[in-house]
Amino acid sequence: MFLPLRSLLKREYLRWVRAPTWIIAGLLTPILYLLLFGQAFNLGKLVPPDPRAQAGLSAALLGAPNYFSYFAVGMVGMVAVTSALFAGTGVIFDKQLGILQRTIATPVRRSTIFASSLIFRGLLVVLPIFIVLGLALAFAQIPGLAGLTVTQNLGAVGLIEVLVAIFVLAIAFTSLFLAFGFLFARVESYFAVVNLLNLPILFTSNALYPYGTSPTWLQNITAYNPISLAVNVMRENFFGGAYYPHPAYVYLGGLVLWAAALGVMALLLASRALRTK
């Protein structure tokens, strides 16, 4: 069990470190998002500088001290989706090249094949998330740049909630896109569906802007979007829970349910693709 998993993970790792474009472009994307969108979309500038108006903005941003702080946390959700987009491509290429066939002709367990993809692709989602958070926090220390300002004292429980939210969010989206990798035989079909889902997933969340003004039906969808749930856990811990109807762990529970459902779906599609016909 351990030796086969280690071998499969090592192969994934070698393929990754030998594709510098993949690494550099993958890590550069979130950094560019932060620098361009984060610095450009400064909603705070649209609001008059008097204290009452600014307090109104903070309320609209659900307690975040400025738009960048609000946006930077939302970027975690955005990066989770955009990094996970590629999770299923490896499986499709392995199918086309016969590598998957060779692998299932060995005694390795089907669940191990699935686990190796989920673990490695999940790590490729978590890595840029931490880069985004680290950079956003660093920006706050640089004069003239907008940065992520954490106004609350997280404490151990808060920190754990934030970390768990990040990992569970990564599992949820990695599972979703991995499932499509096991389902489809062609990259074209895969990206057609991924492209269809990508922006709706992002824009039905509260990652990039507050949804207080949107119609009720959309607000209902937003409330259950896995990105919203993860982002709520983080924002409540970073900026306080005054504007949230539920404590952070409720959102975290919802996120765990999403990840479990998507994980089971991916596992079922994987075992269907890997079974003897």
Partner: protein
């Protein structure tokens, strides 16, 4: 069932969704240590049979056991005992030859320490030592094929399945590959089951042969026994045009079947030409007929195929195309979604 059989199948059938009967009824047995050739034109059911034997496809009906284990009841145990070389290279081009072999060892549960000496030995045997630490995408076609063999042998399988292993290689590359196969069989004591649509391949390499056509085995036996079915060898004796008729004398030579004369040529049919040729020449001398030339024509498997099926081997969808050989994952059963 014979306990020393490496592979045994009984009335194996595979019908694909949609009703395509790829394998209709295949019963065969492969003895331990032999090279068994599975010969047939493209689309005859060779790959489907191999896929069932290697647990990649589930038989619709019938039974198959590999290394004494039932392929349906004990697929994981069967996989542990076999090595596979597919039609197409399945090594990861981004990894080196050595890394591909280490990956395979790991998948079979070998520790890196167990893999190391085995990999070093196989790299040497396959003449891949110099290329071992280069990425496989830069390998030549012949090197890739040898690496496939090496990868398949890392876990010391009892039985090696080769599915059209020399497709796409030039004649030298194929001859070279046969040498490696023979070397492996001698040194590693492995049973080899290979499919091919090249007649010369089975003639030169295989101890026993099964010929499959339209999903059914139409003949099995050794190379020689199959050829005997179509009348064995033909010895041609060239004599002067004015020589006396010695047909009766030649017919009386032991081991000789039919004799016919065609101008200056006598066609002498015999199951095996060895030993008979010198007797024939002596018989001619004794009758005062000078032999000007002798040639022996061995029947080819082409002729065997023609005799068994009524059609020439090469007419039957003979091409070199890989595209028509659907693998388990591509195409077959589910259109490319």
């Amino acid at each position: 069932m014979n306990s020393s059989d490496a592979i045994q199948t009984e009335n194996l059938v595979k019908t694909f969704p949609g009703g395509v009967e790829a394998v209709r009824d295949v019963s065969l047995s492969v003895r331990e240590g032999e090279i068994y050739g599975f010969l047939g034109p493209n689309g005859a059911g060779k790959t489907t049979t191999v896929s069932m034997l290697t647990t990649l496809l589930r038989p619709t009906r019938g039974r198959a056991s590999v290394a004494g284990l039932d392929v349906v009841e004990h697929p994981r145990e069967v996989r542990q005992e076999i090595g596979l070389v597919f039609q197409d290279s399945t090594a990861d081009g981004e990894l080196t030859g050595r890394e591909n072999m280490e990956l395979s060892g790991g998948l079979f549960g070998m520790t890196p320490a167990e893999c190391r000496p085995r990999i070093a030995e196989l790299l040497k045997r396959m003449d891949l030592v110099d290329a071992a630490d280069r990425r496989v995408k830069g390998y030549s076609g012949g090197m890739k094929r040898r690496l496939e063999l090496a990868v398949a042998m890392v876990h010391t399988p009892k039985i090696l399945f080769l599915d059209e292993p020399t497709i796409g290689l030039d004649p030298q590359g194929r001859a070279g590959f046969w040498r490696y196969i023979q070397q492996l069989r001698q040194e590693q004591r492995v049973t080899i089951f290979m499919t091919t649509h090249y007649l010369d391949e089975v003639e030169n390499l295989c101890d026993r042969i099964a010929i499959i056509d339209h999903g059914q085995i139409i003949a099995t036996g050794t190379n020689d026994s199959l050829k005997e079915r179509v009348g064995g060898d033909v010895v041609e004796l060239r004599v002067p045009a004015n020589a006396a008729d010695i047909s009766a004398t030649l017919t009386s030579v032991p081991g000789v079947g039919e004799v016919s004369r065609d101008g200056t040529l006598y066609h002498v049919r015999c199951p095996r030409a060895e030993g008979v040729v010198s007797l024939l020449v002596r018989a001619c001398d004794a009758s005062g007929v000078a032999v000007e030339g002798v040639s022996v024509e061995r029947p080819s498997l082409d002729r065997v195929f023609l005799a068994l099926t009524g059609k020439a081997y090469r007419e039957e969808g003979y091409d070199d195309g890989r595209a028509s050989q659907a693998s388990v994952f591509r195409g077959r059963g589910r259109g490319g979604r």
